[in-house]
């Protein structure tokens, strides 16, 4: 038989750890409809006492109360208070942090008063006992009228007992915390006469509060009987804490409280000098790891895919479908999977920082600075991670609970110069910036590169400030939050977070990325008209010729018999290779992407760009670094691993009309500014879509960043030329 179990608890109560302990790898992450809140569920089959049970667990967002203060908390409310909801549980597991029992009992009291079958799990009992706190569990259970079970989710203690309890327990609580009719009798009477399905006073009071917030007609009706939700909720909280104090008094003996050691750590971590230095140091490690360490597995993935592509090219029959599979689908998949190391590494750090309690301290010391530009203390980690890659950074914005602050962070993070821009900058800087020393010690090229990073950062800050003035907030921005006690991060929690984020990225954002990659492949490999076909035919001819040359050379080298006169002639080989490169360049020019490049030429001419650059701007949508490869193809420079040949060809490129070099300082800088600001990354677009649950924000972002890029490049070009 199936039993639906919902887990609810305060933030930092160890609810996720318990959920992980109960469900392991069975968990699935989805989204609650309409809000960007992770919906974690898991179906687990357990044999208890020779009977099979199918548990369906759902992990509800952490909350202090059933009166929602944010869209996240709204979700928990809907599931627990509407019996018609398909997730309405058979039993609720209230996860309480035993070291903070008073606050946990507040939420427990609301659930008990709503008359929902529930059990109270006292998590972190070991920690509570260490601090000298003693809880008389039997007495507490008697007083609350529900089962109370001590567990340590971290050490997996008490999990089995909990499962046994959950397999049978479905009793309604035998106790009420408060007399709800005493708080707002007029309102509860009114609600009870309209809704006859439930007779409990607290259900009526709760409904009155909810109806007031969500239904205008009811708001009028309730106003008429003198009902005020804030007053009623305040009164309820006071009454509740009054009762809780009695329970605590009767069931616990208090301990010593927080350790002096934790206070010392806190003093350093939030210190006005050390605090920022430690933060800077940690961010440096995070940044370096995503930037450099991720490089290794990323290269393995790329090489691995390249190997598979080569292998497929050898064994599969030649033709369009093979080409689609190899250069469209496999290349697209490679472009998706290549992000996994960066995502895994960033979430490794985020999980560690969050679990240890450090993240809350970062918010604490950064909040005042970030607030000035409309961001939250929690925006700082995504923003800095954006310097490595915007994709994991945007996925990391879920920890920002205020909608407006979260949207602004998502909108400006892609302006930070990410690692994909580096090859573009490297090529253009070596092309237009002289390699010389200025001011005695500084390399000019290095200074310009640093300037590009700074430019992205400043634009992100400026845009945040502008968006802060433009976007209207939903709900107030709070900073009222708990600074949790320090804990050693739990490896399994870290692992589950990484697992979940990677899975979500691959299956949610991956689809969009793959689709766009295929479209881009079609644009670059097909073209209209006979001319395109002729060029394709030419490539095939010369490719065959090159194959023949290879075979003959090999035969000569190994001393095999030849039926024609042949000596290894390197100049012939080179001329064949040149032919192929020239034709490939011609093919790209005649393809749909090439036509599109020419089509947009009038729009990019004021920025100093020709249609060749136009093609690169289009193909760069797959990823910014594709710019280098496209330039190499266009200029027939072949090998895109090495930037020197393509740089030299670009340097020699002359304007057909004026005869002057195309890549002047003005064009080079204008192009760099364009790459700094434009949203040329479908992976980011896909992730923004997934994280905001609509196409609205990625479209706004695309247009906004495109306009910004165009205007700034225009100004750069016009001033310098």
């Amino acid at each position: 038989m199936q039993r639906k179990i919902a887990l609810i608890g305060n933030p930092n109560s160890g609810k996720s750890t318990l959920f992980n302990a109960l469900t392991g790898l069975n968990q699935r992450t989805g989204n609650f409809p309409g809000v960007t809140v992770d919906k974690k569920t898991a179906n687990v089959t357990k044999t208890i006492d020779k009977r099979d049970f199918e548990f369906r667990y759902i992990d509800l967002p952490g909350t202090y109360s059933l009166y929602p203060k944010s869209p996240d908390e709204e979700v928990a409310t809907q599931i627990l208070t509407e019996k018609s909801n398909k997730e309405f549980p058979d039993t609720v597991v209230i996860v309480a942090d035993a070291t903070s029992l008073k606050r946990s009992l507040f939420l427990a009291g609301q659930i008990i008063d709503l008359n929902i079958p529930c059990v109270l799990v006292l998590n972190m009992m070991d920690e509570a006992e260490k601090s000298g706190l003693q809880i008389d569990i039997g007495r507490l259970s008697n007083r609350l009228g529900i089962p109370v079970l001590p567990v340590s989710a971290r050490n997996k203690e008490g999990i089995e007992q909990l499962e046994i309890l959950l397999s049978t327990h479905g009793d309604l609580p035998a106790y009420r915390f408060i007399d709800a009719s005493a708080i707002a009798k007029n309102a509860t009477d009114l609600v009870k006469t309209e809704f006859k399905d439930r007779t409990e006073d607290y259900v009526a009071l709760y409904r009155a509060n909810r109806l007031y917030a969500t239904n205008e007609k009811w708001q009028e009706k309730l106003d008429a009987v003198g009902f005020s939700p804030t007053a009623a909720q305040a009164e309820e909280s006071l009454t509740r804490y009054g009762i809780i104090a009695q329970h605590i008094e009767a069931c616990t003996r208090t301990g010593t409280g927080r350790s002096a050691f934790a206070k010392k750590i806190d003093a350093i971590i939030t210190h006005k000098v050390w605090g920022y230095l430690i933060f800077l140091f940690i961010m440096l490690i995070v940044f370096q790891t995503i930037f450099y360490l991720a490089e290794y597995p990323m290269t393995w993935i790329e090489n691995g895919f390249a190997w598979i592509q080569e292998w497929c090219a050898r064994v599969m029959p030649e033709g369009m479908l093979t080409d689609l599979f190899i250069n469209g689908i496999l290349a697209g998949l490679s472009g998706v999977v290549v992000f996994v190391p960066q995502i895994a590494l960033l979430f490794f750090f985020i999980a560690m920082l969050e679990d240890s309690g450090y993240m809350a301290r970062v918010s604490f010391i950064m909040d005042k600075l970030m607030r000035k530009i409309g961001l939250h203390g929690r925006s700082v980690i995504p923003l800095i991670s954006g310097m490595a890659c915007a994709v994991p950074a945007i996925m990391g914005t879920r920890t920002i609970s205020n909608w407006k602050e979260r949207i602004i962070t998502i909108m400006v993070t892609p302006l930070m110069s990410c690692s994909a821009r580096l090859p573009v900058y490297a090529l253009l800087i070596s092309l237009v910036i002289p390699d010389k020393i200025v001011g005695g010690i500084f390399n000019l090229q290095g200074l310009v590169l640093m300037g590009m990073y700074l430019l992205g950062f400043l634009m992100a800050i400026l845009s945040a400030w502008i968006l802060h003035l433009l976007i209207k907030g939903k709900g107030r921005s709070w900073f009222v939050m708990e600074l949790p006690i320090y804990r050693i991060p739990k490896w399994s929690n870290v692992f589950y977070l990484i697992y979940e984020k990677v899975k979500v990225f691959l299956f949610d954002a991956g689809k969009v990325i793959l689709a766009v990659s295929i479209v881009l492949w079609v644009l670059a490999s097909f073209g209209p008209g006979q001319e395109f076909k002729d060029v394709e035919g030419g490539i095939t001819y010369w490719q065959d010729e090159l194959d023949k040359v290879n075979v003959l050379d090999e035969t000569v080298r190994t001393g095999g018999p030849l039926d024609i006169q042949w000596t290894i002639d390197s100049t012939y080989r080179i001329s064949v290779e040149d032919q192929i490169r020239d034709l490939q360049s011609k093919k790209l020019e005649l393809s749909y992407a090439g036509r599109l490049g020419k089509f947009i030429e009038p729009a990019i001419e004021p920025l100093g760009y020709d249609w060749k650059i136009g093609i690169s701007l289009i193909t760069s949508l797959a990823a910014r670094e594709v710019f280098v490869g496209t330039m190499a193809t266009i200029y027939g420079a072949g090998d895109d691993e090495n930037i020197e040949p393509v740089r030299d060809r670009m340097r020699n490129e002359k304007d057909p009309e004026t005869g002057k070099p195309v890549y002047t300082l003005a064009v080079g800088l204008s192009l760099m500014v364009f790459y700094a600001f434009a949203m040329q990354c479908i992976s980011t677009i896909a992730v923004v879509k997934r994280e905001t649950q609509s196409w609205k924000w990625p479209i706004i972002q695309f247009v906004f960043m495109g306009a910004l890029a165009w205007i700034c490049s225009f100004i750069t070009y016009q001033i310098l030329s």
Partner: protein, 80 residues
């Protein structure tokens, strides 16, 4: 006893929560255990003076100065 608000405490100073001036915020604070009569201690102040962290109901709560200013307190220990 002097009537004052939570934003005016100095680190280490203790006080008793008296009342709230922002009803919407008070609902949240009450739910989190900041009830009138509860003792609060200012634990620390973030660099640049804002936000602050107080010890209340057995845990550490951080809040912005503007939020703390809506909490009326009764100072302990320096009764006139």
């Amino acid at each position: 006893m002097k009537n004052d608000n939570l934003a005016s405490l100095i680190p280490g100073e203790k006080a008793i929560i008296d009342s709230f001036t922002d009803p919407e915020l008070s609902v949240k604070l009450l739910e989190m255990g900041c009830t009138p009569g509860e003792e609060v201690t200012l634990e620390k102040v973030a660099p640049f003076g804002d936000p602050i962290a107080v010890n209340v109901a057995g845990y550490t709560l951080s809040l912005r100065l503007s939020e703390a200013a809506t909490v009326k307190i009764l100072r302990v220990g320096n009764a006139n």
